[in-house]
Amino acid sequence: MEKVYLDHNATTPLDPFVLEAMLPYYKDIFGNASSIHEPGRLARKGIDEARVKVASLLGAKDPDEIIFTGSGTESDNYAIKGAAAALKSRGNHIITSSIEHQAVLNTCKFLENSGWRVTYLPVDKFGVVDMEELKKSITAQTILISIMYANNEVGTIQPIDQIAKIAKEKGVLFHTDAVQAAGKTPVDVSKLGVDMLSLSAHKIYGPKGVGALYLRKGLKITPLLHGGHHEKNRRAGTENVAGIAGFGKAAELAAKNMREEVTNIKALRDRLEKGILEKIKYTYLNGHPENRLCNTANISFEFLEGESIILNLDMEGISVSTGSACTSGSLEPSHVLTAMGIDTVRTQGSIRFSLGKWNSEEDIDYVIRILPPIIEKLRKMSPLYKET
């Protein structure tokens, strides 16, 4: 059976070059990077090289601005809780958006339970945060703004440069979750002027279990983990050397090939999007028409619930996902589409197609061929659908 993977926003396959870069650290180079003997020094060298590569992907001036963590979620937790703990004498207010990833939303909710005030900014119908609302919500008590670079469900890219500018003018720290943006759009921390930025290796063809936090030089936040002197006292715990080496390689490949990959992926994404919207009635694109990740197409199939579509596509070897209800282990409809004001039925029937660098035109044409009869079959079953 044909296999078409279109769920790269969930995770990407490991690039063979990345695996190759990791293997020595699972074999001969086994040292603890904190040890001063040769095996330890070799492991240290692997981490240092990876740090330079990740810093370079982000345009960070100093590799020490990169702290390796265990995941994008840890990076988000670290940035938000770390800033909150470090700045609690200055204020008790945090601003975020209503469409963040759970790693940010639930961290903010956790802080709310311990006395912090959090503003969840609304978004427009394309999922863009309103800059006027942002400006209005900043008070003397605001210590942090955390707004994602690009949304995982619909791909909408936020005006990060404008947010950074506003934050700077008001003297408020700015963190952005760039887990979905990295490798898909140029991210330059120096140009943007962000203070903190979260990354994850497994979204850019690297291994799972490794993330990074960019922390602007000179900025001090409170660590999440306490222990040894790892990562310059900023993240205790023996380093995942192989994972970090893999992250470095993945960052290097992303920086080198991004321009070409983005062009190809976008062409395929547009082909898929056009094919579906033209061939199937009552379908709607969710997210910003232009300012959107090159690989993401979130489409609502009206009158249907997403999971029934996913299961049918899965039976044909096609992997996609949805942020909506049932599948994600929660029964709530997607908080992102809801915040965008999409009506409930369309929210329930939303499917996220997220492409990657190894998808081909054949993959896309296969999906466009397989999908219409599935939708027709399911709609015949739907009490909401009246054939016209």
Binding site: E305, G306, E307, S308, I310, L311, Q348, K380, M381, P383
Partner: protein, 127 residues
């Protein structure tokens, strides 16, 4: 995801039994709403107090479709009073179980059935 569903559930999801409308139904049940992600319509045909045919239309996830399909199979050939006793657990068990987060789908199937039978009794009062 398929792994979370039993083979029976996947079978009823892939090949749902008794899908469709029934314009001359003797009892019609309509439960759920789009906000909770499930809507179920159940139609019953009754002869001499026995359910001789059942059809459904469902908006919902894999489990919602499978439970709808199963409940239509379970009621056929049963008397209306027997059918009234079919619980959501019985529907779930007939499907080889449901993941805990999907048990509400079986409840919806039970409610659809009760709603259809209530409608039947309204139209055909017991003598």
């Amino acid at each position: 995801m398929e792994g979370q569903y039993s083979e029976k559930v996947m079978d009823h999801f892939k090949n749902p039994r008794n899908v469709g409308d029934m314009p001359d139904a003797d009892g019609t049940g309509h439960v759920g709403n789009p906000t909770c992600g499930d809507i179920m319509e159940l139609y019953l045909k009754v002869r001499d107090n026995v359910i001789v045919d059942a059809k459904f239309k469902t908006f919902g996830c894999g489990a919602a479709i499978a439970t709808s399909s199963m409940v239509t199979e379970l009621v056929k050939g049963k008397s209306v009073d027997e059918a009234l006793k079919i619980s959501n657990r019985a529907v779930a068990e007939a499907l080889g179980g449901l993941p805990p987060i999907k048990m509400h789908c079986s409840l919806l199937a039970e409610q659809a059935l009760k709603s259809a039978i209530t409608d039947y009794y309204k139209k055909h009062p017991k003598k």
